[in-house]
Symmetry: C2
Subunit: 185 residues, 2 copies
DNA sequence: GTCTATATCAAGATAGAC
DNA sequence: GTCTATCTTGATATAGAC
């Protein structure tokens, strides 16, 4: 039995609240006080875990990067276990629209508004994924285009501009995954 | 003789300065005072033209949208004059990396950090361009993918994450334009 | 239309009790 | 480890002279 993650300690509660604030009120209003209010934890408590606002942003970005990495690692493991190329699985993992993607958007948004330099871990991750995604492709430029289109999906969510109906979104996703298969078989 | 545009009145100077502040110091530091300092115009002067910060953001977004619309209109005129489909020309116009794209990034960044609602004019524009770009395509899903990839290029510039060498960027651009031709001939 | 001076407030950060 | 109270600053906005 893998025990339930005891993840909902105070730290996680604070990060959850921070994301909610950004989602609900915009990156501008991501203030310590807003997080205090949204989390129900006192200012002293919040500042105990994140001694200043930069640390809070680092925490948001780090958690986002980490959970994204886990998701990709799982996708790649699945691929390898099936003896398949990893790239279509990466594409699928990147294009899923769920809470996690929202988390990505909120964290990126907060960091870029406040201190773009804090995005470095996200840049690192994107560079690595780019590399693995293009690797071994029979048409690297097309692979890069697919990766950019996947980025574009995130982009629109980030800008709060998500006009696709679920069917169109699904059609786009499946098409991108198909294309990836073609480039890696 | 078309006379030199007399565009460099105080208003434009202020908007230029605002973009420079975002580019140099991040959206967070886009303050009235920073614009005052960067533009050399006094606080009273700046607040005469933009009575509050929201008005300044509106001004940034509006100018961005307008110049983008002009650029697209020119591209479409060129296409029609040559009896060609407009979509490849739209793709070309959207993928050019220049000062204008930087302007887009700075304005978007400032608006989204501060007041996402102020992005509405940009959303409207993107919806329209999307529509025209997909219109009459022999493969609308692929057209949408191309548009998303073009978005992705902007996205990476926006996040300060622009890793492509100029040749790769050119290769991607030309490929996207080629694909667009295929879908509209 | 442009300027300086100043009022007001929101937000980050610290101190110290429990 | 969590809390309340308070200090300090940076930023918006106003007033009114030139």
């Amino acid at each position: 039995m893998t025990e339930q993650k005891p993840r909902n300690d105070t730290r996680e509660t604070i990060l959850d609240a921070a994301e909610k604030v950004v989602a609900e009120s915009g990156a501008r209003r991501l203030t310590i006080d807003a997080v205090v209010e949204r989390s129900g934890i006192s200012k002293g408590g919040v500042l105990y875990h994140f001694p200043n606002k930069s640390a809070l942003l680092d925490g948001m970005v780090f958690r986002m990067v980490q959970s994204f990495e886990e998701k990709l690692a799982m996708a790649e493991d699945t691929a390898r276990a099936a003896g398949e190329p990893v790239q279509p699985h990466i594409a699928r993992a990147m294009s899923v629209k769920n809470d996690h993607q929202k988390q990505v958007a909120q964290a990126l948004l907060a960091a870029i508004s406040e201190e773009p330099a804090r995005l470095e871990p996200a840049h690192r991750l994107l560079r690595e994924v780019d590399q693995r995604f293009i690797d071994g492709s029979s048409d690297p430029v097309m692979s890069q285009i697919i990766m950019l289109a996947l980025d574009g999906l995130h982009h629109r969510a980030l800008l709060g501009f998500d006009v696709f109906t679920p069917d169109i979104r699904d059609a786009i996703r499946e098409r991108l995954i198909d294309m990836t298969w073609t480039l890696h078989s």
